[in-house]
Symmetry: C2
Amino acid sequence: MNSQFGEKIRTLREIQHLYLRQVAPLLEMDTAQLSKIEKGLRLLKREQIPIIADILKASSDELMTLWLADQIYAVVKDEKLANEAIQVAEKKINLKKRKE
Amino acid sequence: MNSQFGEKIRTLREIQHLYLRQVAPLLEMDTAQLSKIEKGLRLLKREQIPIIADILKASSDELMTLWLADQIYAVVKDEKLANEAIQVAEKKINLKKRKE
DNA sequence: GGTATATTAGCCAATATTAGACAAGTCAAT
DNA sequence: ATTGACTTGTCTAATATTGGCTAATATACC
């Protein structure tokens, strides 16, 4: 399991019985790129998330959450202090939210 | 508050009554760079964290945690789904840890 | 076996991001 | 006005990421 986002969109695509070659052009990319995105070897652009959510009839928020989570995971995945770092980051986010 | 790591090392440096020009060469950089790192405008290299921890007589783990947290924060700081993403990432980390 | 379709891997060029080096700047103290 | 500490801006070089193409692989069907 290397990319929760990638796995999710692959699953969704398969449920819709769509091929890479059908979906890729809607995102203005070739099938090889989309394949890599599904395998977590490439990142989908942030602004394309709503588009693919629409194509795959999925929740944009859910996909965005997975997309962000993948990036957080990439930062800490090999770190023994991963959990501590996550806690600290979370605290800072919440401080920020309170101010807004 | 833009970089918890930067703020921390600045504070530590001031406690030790050290100047940028004294610390920077030990990290093989110039004062301008270190200044930027303290202000969160540049990233210290991961492998330099133990070195600066040593110079500033601080806990390498603590500094590493802040350094990682800054990077997580950078990913999600403007995201409304920040907390959800953090939860998902954390879950995945814990799954991974359990496997090891 | 041979063919067709879907996906993936590998490579290279283009682009974007980050770092490093240096000069010039501010600010405070004297 | 000079000095010392730090900051800012800019330019270039190094690094990383992306996009696009082509070839390889896998699977199914005849």
